[in-house]
Symmetry: C2
């Protein structure tokens, strides 16, 4: 296996720190360098041993690396690519972990020299936490990393990157760039926007006290707040950069919601019952696919009979 | 403490089985009788030791009980109340666990004889599982049970019921009936409807394969499917019987969602960032109130650094 010898992490948040910890767990001996915009983040990453060396600038951090991973918010990728482009090691692979792929390609590809393998990717894993101390080595275990090569991408370089992600614990799949953005809009971006909205509504109801919302949240609301606690900068950039697909899915969502709202208004119990029965089946498939556990979770307390 | 000597459970699903297990955990010596519509449920409840005796009809199950708890879907409460009314033990307390309170009062109160204490209640706890085998003794621990007495309710009987719920592990609060229904619409009913809708949208997207939805669900969607796997009959009844409050909150939700959608279309990043920052704060309050843990959860794997 042709392992990378020097991996540079640009941005040192949840994803980058988990990559570092998963690399160590997999006994990868690669040198890890990194950088982050804030000095506090750089210091923490060094203290936690996430990097062998930390640099003030991305230009310095990528020197000599044969794999450079952009772990910054989608909106910052273009500027970072412009900065590092002249300093990239000829023949190295440049990839990213952004949740949107078409916009990253548009922002980054123009800066990438011809002798660099630019291969976008999206490891679909995360938590509601952010920062260098939030990472953990098993974050990618049995999660999916979607690699979205460009038409001109070298198959051997793509294969090498896929092997890297597999070693971190992920299942790897290749996907076309625009299809990725639609899939992400359905299973990630729109659910996040809706969770943010629901939490905003509860926060803004004058006739319901904040203490009531907080104390009684176990009845369903709580799961929305978990999603809606995700990093605001990251998610602002996701929605701005995956605008078309998100708006398409939102259009569908509103249509469906209005149909259910109408059924409630008209007292159409059969419509509601049939709808709720269909959605239950999807849950079963997700458990069967190993993407969630069967354990009941609303109580957040393990059953002990 | 004036404990109940004989508790009758009408309906033997997740809530009733958890009540039974929590009563045993609290060393309550009360006789527990029960009934359920389906023979399979009755047999399972008896096998699991959830009840000391099981009866084919609610009329038989309530005989001699000093506490009768209606644990059937909201839409079935009226018929059950009519059936048991002539058989209730004079002076006994009749309560329920329904998620909606005004509709339960409207359906039940008319059947209740004068010598019975009818005191509606709503333990705000549950999981996405249903049936007699789904219960566990700690379901109510540190969750809230809202008691919504009628104006004519006897304070001593209310106090006795509150003591019962406290012994099962719950925090107890009294609340006015209509206010309860509004609070429940905000923190439980509308979030459930939205989760059902989002799962329905993903299920209906022709351009995204079901396997894609299922495999990549860890990126946010999964938490919606958990909520949307809840019992269809129960939730149909909730929406039909808490129509006004649900429609009010849905109206707010659509308004907020359209504002966010507009910000995405116009590329208004500041609006999105500010909104997402506000919602993050609510999450903090819920953790501080002990209604969720701080542990990151999207990965569903415990961090091991």
């Amino acid at each position: 296996m042709n392992r990378y010898k020097h991996v540079a992490l640009i941005g040192l948040g949840l994803l980058a720190s988990s990559i570092s910890l998963a690399m160590r767990r997999a006994d990868m001996t690669a040198r890890i360098t990194g950088t982050a915009r804030s000095k506090a983040t750089r210091d923490t990453a060094l203290e936690l041993g996430l990097v062998d060396a930390v640099f003030d600038t991305a230009a310095e951090a990528v020197k000599g690396a044969d794999l450079v991973i952009l772990c910054v918010p989608v909106g910052a990728m273009g500027a970072v690519a412009a900065e590092i482009a002249p300093h990239l090691n000829p023949g190295c692979t440049l990839t990213d972990v952004g949740s949107v792929k078409r916009a990253v390609v548009a922002a980054v590809a123009q800066h990438v020299p011809e002798n660099i393998h630019f291969i976008p990717a999206h490891p679909m894993a995360g938590t509601e936490k952010s920062g260098p101390a939030a990472g953990f080595s098993s974050l990618f275990d049995n999660r999916w990393c979607l690699i979205t090569p460009l038409p001109e991408s070298d198959p051997a370089a793509v294969e090498r990157l896929a092997t890297f992600w597999t070693a971190l614990g992920a299942n790897v799949e290749e996907m076309e760039i625009d299809h990725h953005d639609l899939v992400a809009a359905v299973i990630s971006h729109t659910p996040h926007l809706i969770a943010y909205t629901m939490v905003g509504v509860a926060d803004g109801m004058n006739r319901v006290a904040k203490t009531e919302v907080v104390n009684y949240s176990a009845a369903g609301f709580r799961d929305f707040t978990r999603i809606a606690a995700s990093d605001p900068t990251m998610w602002r950039d996701v929605f701005l950069s995956n605008k078309d697909a998100t708006l398409e899915v939102l259009g569908r969502f509103t249509e469906e919601l209005l149909a259910l709202q109408r059924a409630i208004r008209l007292g159409d119990g059969d419509f509601l019952f049939d709808y709720f029965t269909r959605t239950r089946a999807i849950r079963r498939s997700i458990i069967d696919a190993g993407q969630d556990t069967e354990a009941p979770d609303f109580g957040r307390i393990k059953p002990e009979k």
